[in-house]
Amino acid sequence: MTVVTPGERLGLAGEFFASNGTVEVGDHIYASIVGTVTTTKSTTSGELDTIQVIPTKKTMKSSIPEVSSIVTGKVLRVNPRMATLSIMVVGDQPCADNFQGIIRVQDVRATERDKIQIYNCFRPGDIVRAEVISLGDSRSYYLSTAKNELGVILATSVAGHTMIPISWEEMVCPKTKAVENRKCAKPVAIGESSTQ
């Protein structure tokens, strides 16, 4: 396997469709990262083959949130209009530095949006899984939990114990049996995460 370095000429611009890890400058395609070259034959005739460079090192790049990526983060603060999250994991890759995202009140769930009260859905310290819906404003990404598998995946009760979801909008503390309101994610993932 040959390794290419940035700036290595891979072919003419008319020859391939330049994909990840490559860049077109003028008439030529160059490698833009260190990695190995792979070309994929196009399935439809008349289209160009795709050329890409597969990185040799696991990149940090995939841990930047993009539109429609699933992120996991911790709730920093809530107010009646939105919950602010610190995004810690993108996909299954932890970020080196946390990004900031917000879940606006209308993006919490898909139905009965007018009845949503943020405080009954998220509380500071909760671990939430959400989807990026836009790059948002200058500070934050806009996130949404309007899907069954999205929402709070880990929360602690007032007494300080990890709570168990009992419905899609309620969680119960195993010790005090107190019930608190949350926008819960479909609870399959919780069982897996706690057994590790």
Binding site: V3, T5, P6, G7, V34, D97, Q100
Partner: protein, 293 residues
Amino acid sequence: MALDSKRIKGPEKSFVPLPLLVQSTPTPTPTSTKTKGRIDGRGTDEVRPLFATTRLVRQASGSAFVEVGGVKVVCAVYGPKPVPASKVQDHHSGGRISCDVRLSPFAALKRKQFMKEPAEHSLSNNLHTALLPSLLLAHLPKSQIDIHIQILQAQNPTSIPPNAFVSSLSLLLAPCITAASLALADAQIEMMDSVVGCNLGIYRNPSTQKLFWMVDCTEEEIETRSNGGGVWVGNCVVGVMPSIGKVTGLVMDGDIGDVGFVMEAVQVCVDACAKIHEVVVKKALIESAQAKE
């Protein structure tokens, strides 16, 4: 100097001891002006051997170490990370980079105080200029890449002690550019091409008034102000993307006065950079990639 309560202080003033009155070794100045060649016997277009490696700083996304002559530079790249709130401007136009170059207190003959030297700021700015064109920052919206450089050694210990802390910026800028670009490539930041830096000293022959150049000047060559029978008039540093053949940064100073000659000098630097790229930079990157497998 302002009082610094955050560090452990020594005496108010201290000095490097003066050399002995009777010099045990003769100064190289008188001999080198007479001989035609360069002090270290290189050809005019020959660069010094350069050592480069990557993955020195495990905490960073990517890092590199470059050593040329007496200059030793470590570079670490952190990020991509969120743009700090104070720097947010137009967030849809791709990422930004921040460069920070620092000299270690023990980098030169005289110990550096903790206050930042003006030279460090100017190095950071020039580095920023030289790197920016090579990076494909449009692929990294809303994020920032931090490039930190620590200069471990800024001058050859055997060279003649210069008066200023750092006699010439150009000697440090070229290895900084090379190291930073190498670290960025190691961090898998997308770029058009790696940038390689090279410096070039410009000399004037005192009898014919003709200008001539020498690639990759050492500090000694600049300090003695004379080399190969010429008088030093200036120097230039070029940052080049060798595969694409584009100049990304150019710093030039001195009393040169001939535009045609400047063009020639830049071309010479471009050629030298291509050589460095082929022999050293690519090898370092391929080596580190294969070590990982």
